[in-house]
Symmetry: C2
Subunit: 425 residues, 2 copies
């Protein structure tokens, strides 16, 4: 192919009605006029997947994952065929393709399969014939020829994987927000859209609850250095450049802090006066792992008289199940108390610039202290600081830190426009 | 396989709601207890196919058939997966399979593809593992791996083809009526259900508008001598034996007449004073064939002074298009008049016993004449007599013939029970 190729992915709300499908088709016609080849990846029409899942659950308490995949995969086929028709009626040669037809091979882990290979030979052939390819996202087939799905947000992953397989210039993710923000605007009214974010930062943000992109999709893009763009697919916001997720540019100075995330879906379990012996941690965390419960932060206090207090956090919806397990474990290892707290939040500050800037943590502690926000637990990585705080303080704390790191719209632009937005003009 | 196999096909209304799917699952559980292997073929949930088609048409005036197939094939996948789940939740090992997975290969005539082969290896393997296979009907794939559909009533054809490929004992078609009737009960209140019908009779009935089975499915069953059973899938009518469609049993005497069909969806075109020359018929019918308009009956009167009147019938929905063509043709061949009549009906009397009984046509003419019903056109085959009559006479004529041939419930049973129902007990 001599022309450059762009992969565009449209989420469920972007293809949620026939009218929106027409709008997406118009957008593709426009993009095509700039002289690029286009592969489109679509999700199921909004609400379709939930409707199908509800039907499955009403027929079976524990529906077999293979059948769920067969069922759900139909949603993306429908939107792919409809979008292909909308394109054809605009005079654009278009072809819908299923996961199988696009050659997307996966392992056999139904409902959350991993991509093992892509053989995009046919897609390439049709691109050479000047076609727009409309791919049903979220799905592939395993070695047996059974339909598999890639799990929540799987269409994003399909899109990135295809972009890599086809050597696309970039992969554009169209959604109902116009980019990645410094913080959740519902929580921090001053939050502003970021023009550029590094893969590392985006990965931290995604794992901290920024829902705009799935971790897997960012990991995939990172691994193969595929530039990702997050944009709004809605007319009123058209023309926006969205957010570019790419490699850190070492020639540019990074903003110290790029975003502040707040995850309220957190809970904490504390075991008091645990005997401080080798193997105790295994006694505690192995039963949780066996029950597929993910533990996030773990804190063990300094040992006193051979005993220590141990706390850890986890997703709130897993608290009840974890407490049942911990009450048993507590008895076995002779902890004096097992308690839980579901009224906490995890506030995280992410920024690739932290690598070269010291004092970020100190600034966070100073700011929170000035607002009388107590920090219950702390965890840090190279480009992230996370604090567990009381949930009632989360809004106050997020706004205070957003101010302290000068992330808000106008002020930030004035002072750090060049630094924040290396890709801007 | 040592166990005998039955293929059951459930139509759209039979799987139209989750409740009905549960009911179908119960029915399969019951059938399985009799010790047979079962393969189930399902249609899309009632209304689903029309909903999808409507969406396609709203996006494209002339939707590409390949995309329509991709779109429509999703409906059967959904009902297959749902039924498999309902079976699994009843403790029955079940597996849904698409047209591709069942190995149903077709040609590339999208929206009305022909089956070219079936490689049911995987289905056979799973049957040996004691599974119920739930197949998405109506669909297959072509050589390129594109999804194809088999056209209206295609799921019936899928079912018969699978029954043949798997060596089933019989193929049961579950629908919303409890069998094949001597006539349409809405038109002839005395109509009764037939216990047995021969393939030949059923073919005539299907082509004459009996909607219970598609011609193709009966042809397929006939070709491979696969016994077909038409039954109701609804609870209130359970226990009914339905109608068996099989080979004529030469040892049994056939009833002279099995059924009376009336097709009101007919129209007639007449060309007056057409020059009676070689090649004229081609001049008339070739343009119709080119426009894919099927002509049914053709009548050419005796030539008078080198001219003849020519009439033919066709489906009413094609009348307008055909008249445009005929008006042109009429001028070209110098017919003096081109006229049409849409207020006609085709009344057909079908019976394998006609082969050995003379006088059926005479009886028909006598009966209609006694009721002052004028016959406009006549056409006969070995086991059928069709008359075109005025539409307003159709109900009267159908009931008169039903009486004349003693097809009505009680009388018929008394006199000809053994003859009409060779398979009964």
């Amino acid at each position: 192919m001599s022309k450059s190729l762009i992969v565009q992915k449209y989420g469920g709300t972007s293809v949620g009605t026939l009218e929106r499908i027409e709008h997406v088709a118009d957008r593709i016609v426009k993009a095509r006029k700039t002289g690029v080849d286009i592969v489109v990846v679509v999700s199921a029409m909004a609400g379709e997947t939930d409707k199908l899942l509800k039907m499955a659950r009403s027929l079976s308490k524990n529906p077999a994952r293979r059948e769920v995949d067969m069922l759900l995969s139909s949603g993306e086929r429908i939107s792919a065929a409809l979008l292909a028709l909308a394109l054809q009626s605009r005079g654009i040669p278009a072809l819908s393709m299923t996961g199988r037809q696009i050659g997307l091979q996966t392992d056999s882990t139904h409902t959350r399969a991993r991509i093992t290979s892509i053989d995009a030979q046919r897609a390439r052939k049709m691109l050479n014939k000047n076609h727009v390819i409309v791919v049903a996202g979220f799905q592939g087939i395993n070695e047996e020829g059974d339909v598999t799905t890639l799990g929540r947000g799987g269409s994003d992953t399909s899109a990135v994987a295809l972009a890599v397989a086809l050597g696309a210039k970039q992969c554009e993710i169209y959604t109902d927000v116009d980019g990645v923000y410094t913080s959740d605007p519902r929580m921090v009214p001053q939050a502003k859209k970021l023009d550029v974010v590094s893969y590392d930062e985006m990965l931290e943000m995604a794992s901290l609850g920024a829902k705009v992109l799935q971790i897997r999709c960012v990991e995939f893009a990172h691994k193969y250095k595929m530039p990702l763009v997050v944009k709004s697919s809605f007319k009123e916001k058209e023309g926006g450049k969205g957010t570019l997720i790419c490699e850190e540019d070492p020639k540019m100075e990074q903003p110290v802090v790029s975003g502040i995330m707040c995850d309220k879906n957190q809970a904490k379990i504390t075991l008091k006066e645990v005997p401080d012996q080798p193997g105790i941690a295994a006694n505690i965390f192995e039963p949780l792992a066996a029950a597929s419960i993910s533990v996030d932060m773990i804190i063990q206090n300094v040992s006193e008289q051979g005993h220590t207090d141990l706390s850890f956090t986890l997703a709130r919806e897993e608290l009840d199940e974890a407490m049942v397990i911990m009450n048993k474990v507590g008895k076995k290892i002779q902890a004096t108390q097992v308690s839980s707290n579901a009224k906490i939040a995890k506030l995280s500050i992410v920024g690739a610039g932290m690598r070269s800037h010291s004092g970020v943590a100190a600034q966070i502690f100073k700011t929170l202290s000035a607002h009388k926000v107590n920090i219950l637990m702390i965890s840090t990585s190279e480009i992230k600081v996370s604090c567990i705080i009381e949930q009632k303080n989360s809004k106050l704390a997020a706004n205070a830190l957003h101010d302290a790191f000068k992330l808000e719209g106008k002020t930030a632009k004035k002072k750090t426009a060049k630094i924040v937005s290396p890709a801007k003009k």
